[in-house]
Symmetry: none
Subunit: 360 residues, 2 copies
DNA sequence: GTATGATATTTGTCCGTATAAATCAACAAA
DNA sequence: TTTGTTGATTTATACGGACAAATATCATAC
């Protein structure tokens, strides 16, 4: 009645329950178990296979077999192969490329994705998070909403952490949580971009940054650091900060005001390409030429940026690659494998909106 | 990436969901499956083993393998308020705008969406459909894949029809099913566009159309009809047809050939803006100027089209509005209200790629 | 017609073997 | 110190074979 594989299974199960092997402990290798129980590899694998299904153990190819969190939520751990994706926007700007990258990886692995967007609004983020948990998704990828502000959804993130649902942040991360993330080195890149403007002979530069997400804060940091390296001109820097909830018209008015002054800046470093494209219109409405009168640089290398007139000098955001890497990392997390966060170094893309070097 | 046992598993699962094997039907024996899939017994047993775990089949020793009641226990389960969206692409071209429109409506109504893309491939469409049914979504929006070709997934669509899952087609529709749809009046629009080229003095026009989806076929129809209204010059029309699976390089070569002739056309009507943008490069590589030597028009009013040089004359596709309407219609369908299909009349957007009227 | 039993069929268990893929540790190179 | 490489270890996939156990089939006896 009792088959060999059942005996092996029961043997291991009772050892786990008895505490001989604690959660995350490594179990003996297959070869060792073969020796111990005097059975073939097939039998061992069959026994472990069932224990895996019952969430007593998990296996890592090449790594070994480990004790799973067998006491936790065995209630509704459905195997629905569904991952949740929460982003601030889904169809605008660089997001389609990121989503596409994620999709490619996860659908190769047989997963579907549920999409939800927050419009950069904490309340909507809360709703999205609750829905996702409700829908019993297996893992999550989240782009933080207003990552530079205190997050009112802390309670939910703590719940997620406790539940053990694999969760990965993209584009930025909330600093008070330890989830892995995939993001860009915004500060270094903006510094590089600002340095480039210096080499083009610009000393008075206006920086316009959205500061309710960390990317914006880091970009602003980079801008400031570039100036700090050139203390002689640092007093010439100027900045406008705004939040995503602000009326953009007011920002444009403020910029307009700055550029009507006698001592107006000669260049503008924008939070991103989307803003840069709008700012170009603002500057032009003052009868100033770009790049001759005012140089403009953006950030992200939006698809349109090389087509607009003049084509935009910017920093290249690895959109698609970031999506693919995020997908791969999440798959690893689902398989209990170790992952390390990624921070991409970014490259400058010189086009025409910041002119070419002038001798002076 | 895809292992043999996974292929067997997916194959059988698809057949069960598609209804080839009904509940309590006997499946082929292991030997037969070994023969059918050309794999060893181990592989068959592993595949069936997983299907057994997922309650798709049950086995009786000596008796055989049978289809389990796989629909039970999931129907009333979690996945309510979830709609499925299947499109040919998700992150390219005009799709983000459509998806965004759909999302706006359904998320207002408390729904989430599951995304899946087919890359315009019937096999992938099949997989997507099966996944959706598997996930027990409440309703579906589908952009047909290669809608001008006979559809090999007819069986699944019939099952969907029978199951009563509200289903809406966008962008096109399969003619042999009676699902509601939201689409554009491509033929009329292309006719209008061609007429416009006539008014610009063009008589020899090359039409390049992708003919494996109905939009392409209708656009071609419109092109032909425009010529039929001007019988005196209709012999001057010329066409290149291709399918999405074709190597685009070959199409470009063919077009190159045509434009190296003495009696080359003076204008090109392209299937869509995406193609038009590529064709412009092809024509330019022959040292021909646009629009002076060759006029080029597209279709869809892709976001980039107004930024490229020269800006593209095209037909405006109501992307966002189509998405919103599709969402609204689907909500009505879920509430068992009557809906009527929508066919949008489209407007011409004159820019610079087809020049301005020459007096002659 | 029904019951019985022999035989064939079909799934269950188990072994040995082989190759691939991932990981890890140790070492070498920069 | 860091980075890349190599080889050993470990799990993953896959094949083929063997026998056991349960069921199905069918001829035979009653």
């Amino acid at each position: 009645m009792e088959s060999k594989y059942e005996m092996v299974k029961q043997g291991l199960k009772s050892e786990i329950i008895a505490g001989k092997y604690q959660v995350t402990d490594k179990l003996p290798t297959e070869s060792e178990l073969m020796e111990q129980y005097k059975v073939s590899r097939y039998t061992i694998r069959r026994a472990i296979g069932e224990l895996e299904n019952e969430h007593y153990v998990y296996r890592i190819q090449g790594g070994g077999m480990f004790v799973d969190e067998w006491q936790k939520g065995r209630s509704s751990k459905v195997n629905n192969k569904m991952i949740g994706l929460i982003t601030t926007h889904i169809a605008d700007y660089i997001f389609p490329s990121i989503i596409s990258g994620i999709d490619r990886v996860i659908s190769d692995n047989g997963y579907s994705m549920i999409l939800s967007n927050t419009h950069n609004n904490h309340q909507k983020e809360r709703q999205s998070l609750i829905r996702m948990l409700d829908d019993n998704i297996e893992a999550m990828i989240i782009e933080p909403t207003q990552s530079a502000l205190p997050n009112p959804n802390r309670d939910i993130y703590e719940k997620i952490k406790a539940s053990g649902i694999p969760t990965l942040f993209i584009n930025s991360h909330y600093e008070d949580f330890t989830f892995p993330y995939v993001e860009t080195q915004d500060s270094d890149a903006e510094q590089q971009l600002t340095e480039y403007l210096f080499t083009q002979g610009h000393e008075k530069i206006l920086g316009i940054f959205q500061i309710d997400d960390l990317q914006g804060v880091h970009r602003m940091d980079g801008f400031i650091h570039a100036y700090l390296k050139h203390p002689k001109i640092s007093y010439l820097s100027e900045m406008v900060m705004y939040q995503s909830s602000d009326e953009m018209v007011k920002i444009f008015d403020k910029v307009s005001g700055i550029f009507q002054r006698e001592d107006r800046p000669t260049a503008i470093a924008c939070y991103n390409d989307q803003l840069a494209i709008q700012i170009i219109d603002v500057v032009r409405s003052l009868d100033l030429r770009i790049p001759e009168d005012v140089a403009v640089v953006g950030f992200d290398d939006y698809q349109l940026s090389k087509y607009i007139e003049p084509s935009l000098t910017t920093i290249v955001h690895p959109k698609g690659k970031m999506g693919i890497d995020a997908g791969k990392l999440l798959m690893r997390m689902i398989n209990h494998e170790e992952v390390e966060s990624i921070r991409y170094p970014l490259d400058l893309k010189i086009r025409k909106s910041a002119g070419i070097k002038k001798n002076q």
